[in-house]
């Protein structure tokens, strides 16, 4: 099936469905689609209904402070923005950090990645696949058998255990405070799991809740505290005294390092015994639902991350690069400094650029709002019933790599790593696909399977494993380096602004849980002159550009059949697979505190 990537491939003649807001995401987002007579999505429009601009809070401030502000932008990406920010400042000022700081940042960043992926799957995305109400009908003995089959090493598998979970669930549902599980479409035939599998997933929802609180303690050790761990330009905010004693908050010592190792091992066991097997089991039971690939089958982008050798991008555990038009034989090099490569366009975004400028590189980025609606808008300025996507229709800008709309995120990283011949990733993907094919009797190729909603969800789980596995390596390298007598955690040679050039520009990149993240900074006279970020959801949630190229969310929804157009289970499933996070890509504009998704058909 040809992947629609441009407005010329779309058909907006069918019934219009409006989902606003899209729930269980960070920030605020609206989605409109047109379905044909068979309820298949033929046009998709994704609107960020919020306005953004980091320079609004950062202009004129001390560059060394920026991390603390950007850490507060969003509730789930805290550390990843802080890390990217200190990297941008270090890049501008030519600061190289010590090896210990490099390793500790990796440990913190991978902790965030693993933590975020686990919470995303179990607490934000799982309810798109599993039905907790159906779990009440399960036979706990059957769930126990299922658990032993999909994950023989997981200790929590007795019928009594699942019976307890079911009883707790029943009690909870009966209080009438459905809370967590309110606002679902629990009798929709889009839910395919047998009750026993649903019960297993509910149990793991609870286990994941217990697990996530343990792994995040790593941030407390290295970042001083959590929520909102501390970062520092030039290194990390913790000191090391390997033989020291003392409570938390004291310098990192062998006791706290051993504590970190235990937390990593727990996360590893959870990923191996629960998370990955669950995703594969769910994928097998949804084997006929291979929709949602969209741009992933064509254009993907990553900046790369986890350098084994500091400041050597060729040593990235997950390589950077760009793939265009689905040609996996060629991975293009990406240069975030090159003004010809990354540009943001505003043809369909509620901004205007001074003069008649087209795309702007982030170093030259402007954030001048211009809210106007197209002639085909239905409704009024304050109550838009149907947006006119032929005109400006989103607060998200349209970033492009050499003019192409790109998908970013774990799936993009995995496709690029696979196509680049990365052994670890190839082995992981091939084994997962082997299990899927074996369980389903299908014979899909990687290219047929991976670019899909399920593939996106699986890539996130595989990446979680990559993170926790390699955290063990980072840990050993860190302990070895410290034992060799190196306890340095920061380079403060250029801490004093008097040592800085009058003007400097820098860029920091990272692979955030949701995808490629870049912060571009201009420093002048020791202060921030301009600060622009392109966050992953700017790429994925991008509106159309002047050439009619549609964004990743939009492309991923195309050609998906809906069971019941007034119950957007399929739309939520695919959008959630991106783990959209609009808090930092845009600015909130929710009219009321409404939790319920309104779905309207016109």
């Amino acid at each position: 099936m040809n992947t629609p990537m441009n407005t010329k491939d779309l058909d907006n003649s069918g019934r219009r469905i409006v989902v606003d807001p899209v729930t269980r995401i960070e920030g605020h987002m609206r989605c409109e689609v047109n379905v044909d007579d068979n309820n298949i999505i033929r046009n998709a429009v994704s609107t960020g209904t919020m306005w953004r601009g980091l320079e609004v809070i950062l202009k004129g401030r001390d560059p060394r402070d920026a991390w603390a502000f950007v850490e507060r932008i969003c509730g789930v990406c805290t550390g990843t923005h802080a890390l990217t920010s200190v990297r941008a400042v270090e890049d501008a000022l030519g600061i190289q950090i010590p090896l210990n700081a490099h390793l500790i940042r990796h440990l913190m960043d991978k902790t965030l990645q693993a933590h975020d992926h686990i919470v995303h799957f179990y607490h934000l995305h799982a309810l798109d696949w599993i039905n907790p109400v159906n779990a009440l009908k399960a036979d706990p003995v059957g769930t126990s058998e299922l658990q032993k089959m999909v994950s023989p090493h997981h200790p929590k598998s007795s019928p009594g255990y699942f019976k307890d979970v079911q009883t707790r669930l029943k009690k909870f549902v009966e209080t009438g405070q459905l809370g967590l599980f309110a606002n679902g479409y629990w009798d929709n035939p889009a839910y395919k799991l047998p009750a026993e599998a649903d019960l297993m997933a509910v149990a793991h929802y609870l286990e994941a809740l217990d697990m996530q609180k343990e792994i995040v303690k790593i941030h407390t050790i290295f970042g001083g505290k959590n929520p909102h761990p501390n970062f520092m330009v030039g290194g990390v905010a913790c000191a090391i005294n390997i033989d020291g004693v003392g409570a938390s908050g004291a310098p990192v010592n062998m006791t706290s390092l051993n504590f970190v190792l235990q937390r990593i091992k727990e996360a590893q066991a959870f990923t191996d015994n629960v998370y990955l097997p669950d995703v594969l089991a769910i994928a097998g039971l949804y084997k006929d639902w291979l929709y949602g690939g969209g741009l992933a089958s064509k254009n993907v982008l990553a900046y790369g991350t986890y350098q084994k050798v500091p400041y050597d991008p060729t040593s990235n555990l997950l390589p950077g690069g760009a793939i265009i038009n689905g040609n996996w034989d060629e991975v293009h090099e990406v240069d975030v400094r090159d003004p010809e490569q990354i540009k943001e366009f505003v043809d369909h975004s509620w901004y205007t650029y001074e003069g008649d400028k087209k795309g702007l590189h982030p170093w030259d980025g402007e954030t001048e709002p211009k809210f106007e609606l197209g002639p085909n808008t239905v409704g009024s300025r304050t109550n838009i019933k149907e947006i006119d996507e032929g005109a400006k229709y989103s607060w998200i800008k349209a970033p492009r790599w050499r003019g192409h709309a790109m998908e970013v995120g774990p799936l993009a990283r995995y496709i690029i790593a696979y196509a680049s011949g990365n052994d670890y990733v190839q082995d992981q993907v091939d084994r997962a696909l082997g299990t899927f094919n074996q369980n389903t009797g299908l014979a899909l190729t990687v290219k047929q399977f991976l670019p899909s909603t399920l593939g996106r969800t699986l890539a996130r789980a595989m990446e979680c494993k990559l993170c926790v596995d390699t955290m063990i390596d980072d840990w050993h390298q860190l302990v070895g380096n410290i034992k060799n007598g190196d306890s340095s955690t920061a380079n403060v040679e250029k801490w004093d602004p008097a040592s800085w050039p009058k003007e400097a520009i820098g860029v920091g990149t990272n692979e955030a849980p949701r995808g490629a993240l870049g912060h571009w900074i201009k420093i002048k006279d020791g202060k921030i002159e301009n600060y622009q970020a392109i966050v992953p959801t700017t790429w994925n949630g991008s509106p159309r550009d002047g050439e009619g190229n549609i964004g990743a969310f939009e492309a991923a929804l195309m050609n998906t059949p809906m069971e019941r157009p007034d119950e957007p289970v399929e739309i939520l499933r695919t959008l959630h697979s991106f783990d959209p996070c609009l808090a930092c890509s845009t600015h909130v504009m929710s009219e009321d505190g409404q939790e319920l998704t309104k779905v309207k058909i016109r």
Binding site: I57, F69, N226
Partner: protein, 231 residues
């Protein structure tokens, strides 16, 4: 966990539960996003409380920031929870509202600006689902005046409620035998809940001017308040 790191030396361990030998584990939690004007009420309330008072070891003062689901473990592990937050009860802007126990809805927060809003009601519901729900719960909320001001700080009417809100919390804690001491020395920087650059006065003083950085948002929701904002 910042609060627990310091070695606090206040005079009393609170004792007021069925088991008289075990002090209550109490958490005083501020939530919200300090970058969005009155959304920062909860954060500024705990910042101010922590700067002035020193609590016994069984009491932790916490800046929960924009964290949502990630706060669940803290809700689970305490016997007594005090929450400061901006709330939307449709009251006159700047009104304080105190809600206790089962009256605290499993739905809070004003708007979906961050996960704590899609989420704090979910956090409470999740904690309940896991069977670890605080025995004593008080929500001290203030109806915001202004949210749509990225980079802004508390409006005067909300700022004026910080001290009264703290008094409500202290009074509530007194009934459980928790008596903090006024600090005789300023809070050392390493014990602050958040980095110095985010402290309210510094945050406000360093804000870029409106000329340098446009502050306007989406006109659809600015409506006729646009003019007030520009004043």
């Amino acid at each position: 966990m910042a609060g627990s790191q310091s070695e606090l030396r206040a005079n009393s361990g609170a004792v007021n539960s069925a088991d008289q030998t075990q002090p209550l584990r109490a958490i005083i939690l501020g939530i919200g996003n300090l970058l969005w004007a009155d959304e920062g009420f909860g954060i500024r309330a705990v910042e101010s409380l922590h700067a002035r008072y020193q609590f016994p070891d069984n009491v932790e003062v916490m800046d929960g920031g924009t964290q949502g689901i990630y706060l669940v473990q803290h809700v689970q592990r305490c016997d007594l929870l005090v929450v400061f937050d901006a709330i939307d009860y449709g009251l006159a802007p700047g009104t304080m509202k105190v809600i206790q126990g089962d009256d605290v809805p499993k739905y809070m927060g004003v708007k979906k600006m961050s996960l704590h809003q899609t989420g704090f009601q979910e956090v409470l519901a999740m904690a309940e689902f896991t069977g670890h729900y605080p025995q004593h719960l008080i929500l001290i909320g203030v109806q915001p005046v202004e949210l749509e001001d990225f980079g802004g700080s508390l409006r005067p009417a909300v700022q004026a409620q910080v001290a009264p809100a703290i008094s409500v919390a202290l009074e509530y804690l007194h009934t459980f035998g928790i008596h903090p001491q006024l600090r005789d020395q300023p809070l050392p920087p390493q014990e602050q809940l958040a980095p110095t650059e985010l402290q309210q006065h510094r945050y406000e003083a360093g804000r870029p001017s409106e000329v340098d950085a446009c502050r306007l948002g989406d006109e659809r929701f600015l409506n006729d308040t646009t003019d007030e904002r520009n004043n």
